[in-house]
């Protein structure tokens, strides 16, 4: 029972970590490798608002999410827009930005126990005899709401539909008057907000440390690769797969294997089915 509950919580955490990455790639075809850095940066900004500026928690979270959205938009408009369409350059450029942000934070002293966000609620409750803190329940609830919102946004609102149009057929979308660069800016910015949201939700479970940024990036890649690059429904399914695989190995082997599982899954999926579980990309584009 404990396995099931913590498996679900772990899977939902993975969804939160990876959905922004999957969305940005799926829509704007921009692999945003600064994802992990944005995750940590949001936590750090929230921490500053909370403790240095003394704002209430909710306001701090909202402000930092707005800031991270602007940073995401700037990242696209200033840097990525110039290397559009060259996948390797896009990866190098965005990873470079992420690396700069993370190492700058490390240099600024982001390590150890100093930086901690408080959980939203300290109490815990029992679900079928397993103690679960309210914070984790909130995480699951927030993820559900976010997924519903995303589904509604991409299916029933004009900006969301524009994003999907660009992803499916860029030329036809251009003919219909959809601005490709604006849609991509929205996508990267939305991806950044989702990364930030994940940061604000998940970071209170531990310390804000730089290594977490790299881990989040690898998890996001693992989930996206497994679910199919760019398919965010695949990302949800893949999160559950990897989440449970992780919890099972951690329970029966050792906690070191937490990370190994994610890496192994990347390798196995890429070798056997590079388009992932739900990828709809053409086989020809990915292998000879």
């Amino acid at each position: 029972m404990e396995l099931v509950i913590y498996g679900i919580i772990n899977s939902v955490s993975l969804i939160l970590m990876s959905i922004g990455f999957a969305l940005a790639y799926g829509v704007s075809r921009v692999p945003n490798f600064a994802h992990g850095a944005l995750f940590i940066l949001t936590g750090y900004i929230t921490w500053i608002f909370l403790y240095q500026a003394g704002l209430p928690y909710a306001l701090a979270v909202i402000l930092s999410l707005i800031i991270i959205a602007l940073i995401g938009a700037a990242l696209y408009q200033l840097i990525l827009i110039r290397v559009r369409g060259m996948p390797i350059s896009e990866i190098i450029a965005s990873f470079g930005v992420g690396l700069a942000i993370l190492e700058l934070l490390r240099w600024a002293g982001l390590r150890g126990m100093t930086y901690m966000l408080p959980p939203f609620m300290k109490e815990s409750l029992n679900i079928a005899g397993v103690p679960v803190s309210y914070h984790r329940v909130i995480i699951v609830g927030a993820a559900m709401i976010m997924l519903f919102f995303l589904w509604y946004f991409t299916h029933y609102t004009k900006p969301g539909l524009a994003l999907r149009a660009i992803a499916q057929n860029e030329r036809a979308a251009l003919v219909l008057g959809i601005d490709s660069d604006r849609a991509a800016t929205v996508a990267v910015s939305l991806g950044a907000v989702l990364a930030g949201l994940a940061g604000v939700l998940l970071l209170p479970l531990g310390n804000i440390v730089v290594e977490m940024g790299y881990e989040v990036l690898v998890f996001a890649i693992a989930v996206s690769v497994c679910g199919g690059l760019g398919s965010w429904k695949g990302a949800v399914v893949a999160s559950f797969l990897i989440g449970f695989a992780q919890i099972i190995t951690v329970t029966y082997l050792a906690s070191h294997y937490h990370f190994v599982v994610a890496l192994l899954i990347i390798i196995i999926v890429l070798i056997t089915k590079p388009s992932g579980l739900y990828g709809r990309q053409k086989e020809l584009e990915e292998r000879v």
């Binding site: 692999p31 840097i79 110039r82 290397v83 996948p87 390797i88 350059s89 990866i91 190098i92 450029a93 470079g96 930005v97 690396l99 700069a100 190492e103 700058l104 490390r106 240099w107 690898v218 890649i221 690769v225 050792a254 070191h256 294997y257 990370f259 190994v260 890496l263 192994l264 990347i266 390798i267 890429l270 070798i271 590079p274 584009e285 990915e286 292998r287 000879v288």
Partner: protein, 336 residues
Amino acid sequence: MMQELRKERLDRGIKVRADSIYAISSLKEIMFLMGPGLILVFGLLVLPAVVSPYWQRVLCIAGVYVLLSISFGFLANYVGLVCLGGALFVGVGGYLSGILNAYFGLSPLLAIPLATVAGAFICTLLLLPCLPLRGVYFAIISFVYPLLAGRLIAATGVFGGTDGIAELDVLTNKWVNIYLIFILILVVVFGISRLVNYEDLGLVFRGVKDNEQAITASGLNITFYKAQAVFIGAALGCFGGAYLSHLYGWAGMSLFAIDFSILPVAATVVGGSGILYGPLLGAFLLIPISEALRAFGTLRIVFYAIVLVFFVVFWTEGVLEYVRRKYEQFEHWVRV
């Protein structure tokens, strides 16, 4: 009224003459053609002899990165495989050499070449299932291998686990140390240039990158040729790793550090892709700068990252192409 100007570039007279039969007409033309090569050769041979012992050691480590950069440049520019697995090559080579030396008692001079060949073979086998993958997919998977290897060693505790294999034999003579890698760099850079420009195998490699259909239509097995290219690239990295483990006298998890994967990319981006000398120049520019910035701690990675982004986004031709243009052409503004 705004005046429209455009930059016009013209080949220098000497470049035009040196391209044809007049190349051998005078010493000046011959020097124009051979100058860059001679600067490279003499530069690499003289440089280690004139710097202080501390910088000699830095140059030894820089040499490893240069080999990795050449390996990356070769695979990316001539075979079309963006291989971020530099750390895998270094790690496998370093650990193999360490094992041969510590557990089987082979001398470093025997362990290094053995580890180079055997390590390259192992790396090729590991990457074999993913060779059909293209572009980003291959880049991701080759990047993940060394991460996985490092975590597995930490988790299972084989080969000394997180402590690594200590007290390996080192090469005591520092001149042997330094010229071993510098002469190898020269051999490799000229050898690979020759391979890709003049040999049949090089032609096939470039075909694999540019026109897979032509290769398939010729009845050649693409994966087989990619494997050969990876073997060459991996051998360079494995040698670097084996050499490093005997330079430090220690083979540990840091041989799988992502620096070995990232820096060759940075060197290629900074130096300029296209020809092999670009990555070489980039690595020789970046390592001393990074060494000089050591005092700033992790801030130097920030500096690195910013340089990398700057070159990728705003100066894609790289340093070498810029220098080459200045060397061969003159430019001036003309009214449109």
